[in-house]
Point group: C2
Chain length 195, copies 2
């Protein structure tokens, strides 16, 4: 298993047919994920298309993650948790400044995604809304959005299958409120078989 240190990120190639397992090593830790078509990075993960085609905001086993060009990029093939977010943009230095009045802005998912995607030729403005693994976002009957601690426990995982050759970026999220008040690592592995 690979380990993403707290408040950092990584990016890698995931080939069509391979499985990506994302593991909450200690529990209550979010991982923001963005995905691009490795052969044409103008195609990328789309929350709008995914929510439209899957007719849900509660993505879990059996759901697909779609691209801006209406193609399937990933299938969720296993999910221990069932609570992830696909509404909120990655935390950025402005998130901390505007929402949290927090001036420790040297770590953010947006910066960690960009830093790791830049070597693949991805521009900062091209970073889309992420699929936020293990993120627990509540919506009230009046549409109010609140971020609560993840319900994921130590060792919980979600497994995605790649439907195309992909560039995947993952973080161990840097927003305190999203992670139950502390910063923890995230694990991941790439396999050719589903164990």
């Amino acid at each position: 298993m690979n380990r993403i240190a707290p408040r950092t990120g990584t990016a890698f190639l995931l080939h069509k047919g391979q499985y990506l397992t994302v593991i909450d090593i200690n529990g209550q830790q979010v991982s923001d994920m963005v995905v691009f078509n490795a052969e044409d990075t103008g195609e990328y993960i789309s929350s709008g298309k995914s929510i439209d085609f899957e007719e849900t905001i509660r993505f879990t086993k059996g759901n697909f993650i779609w691209s801006n060009r209406s193609n399937k990029l990933l299938e969720i093939v296993k999910d221990d948790v069932g609570v992830h977010d696909f509404l909120l943009a990655p935390c950025s230095k402005e998130t901390f400044e505007i929402m949290y009045k927090d001036h420790d802005t040297q770590f953010s998912c947006r910066d960690n995604l960009y830093k790791n995607l830049r070597p693949f030729g991805i521009q900062s403005d091209a970073i889309p809304t992420a699929f936020n693994v293990f993120m627990n976002v509540k919506i009230s009957n009046h549409g109010a959005v609140s971020v609560e601690a993840p319900i994921s426990n130590k060792g919980d995982k979600i497994i995605f299958k790649a439907m195309k050759n992909l560039i995947v970026a993952l973080t161990a999220c840097s927003a305190k409120d999203s992670n139950g008040g502390s910063f923890k690592p995230i694990g991941y592995k790439i396999t050719t078989d589903l164990d």
Copy 2:
């Protein structure tokens, strides 16, 4: 008042401080809206940032629409309806093929947005999730998403104030299910004062 014919779109400049009024001329008609910074089109409307900063999926008077760079693009200053969508991507030919098994795919919001934004130098892949004026999207307690007829009546309007110099594209939406089963026009006007 300008009139957008059924299943078509338009795009125009909206200067900082100007007001854009979008009018449901006949009632029960959606208008997909996307917005770019006119001085740097790498900056565009972001559902993820807007939902994050405004802490709602139910945008109405007093809410701002934010960009991918965490800047305010528009303020909602008047709203007769209070039910709009910021989750779903613009309908595209694939929406009709995949979701509706409908092969009358010659009209779609995505194509109408692109056709009108291309003269401003906007690429197809750069069209983001739209702010869907008057669109009535329900979310169940289990996260299931369904599209219902708009609750907007004849003459209802929403007014936005531009926070920057903007390129705005608007449609009269082409998805039957989003518009109570028929295709109607959308009105809009640009003013320097709020009447």
